[in-house]
Amino acid sequence: MPEELKVGCARPVGASSDEEKEPVITGGPEEKKTEKGVPMIKVGQKAPDFTAPAYHNGKFISMKLSDYLGKWVVLCFYPGDFTFV
């Protein structure tokens, strides 16, 4: 399901799947926003979709969160490669 990336000199970058669209207000006027206007994450609500480049099994791929609908996903963020913890 993930497409393999053609790797050139440019560093591949991902994007929020909503990025191209006009900012959409979802959830009504009472929806809480962070200072930058990004909707706050809440349990019980949809995980924001995104695409991102990835390294997996020796290949560079592009993956999209919504390709994993139908499966359980654990999405982990961490400060950086070669850090200690």
Binding site: R11, G14, V43
Partner: protein, 132 residues
Amino acid sequence: MSVDSIFVHKMWNDNELSKMVKGGVPFPMLSDAGGKVGTIYGIYDEIGGVETRGRFIIDPDGIIQGYEVLTPPVGRNVKETIRQLQAFQHVRNSKGTEATPSGWRPGKMTLKPGPDLVGKVWEVWKIEMEDD
């Protein structure tokens, strides 16, 4: 997912992580240049320019069932993440008829919420069951 490029991910996996885990990291190592995705998920630290330790459990419908965020110096407990995942899966398979009490693990008793259980949880669940 971190702000590192996929090239750095490759170097870290191939040169260090594969020495900790046979065959290397079995799942995709995602790159988030500039913390764009991390910002949407509310875990990007703009001052440090890095993602904090955010961990999100997302169900098959794409719904966030749980999350945990730690500052960089403290590592996560993978066993606890797996325990939560198993509990969310159990609840989903029961179509919401069962709930998992504190400290639940697969095989342990669940609660069946309903009018008959109101005020009676103390009869069926004891504090010692949290750790047994």
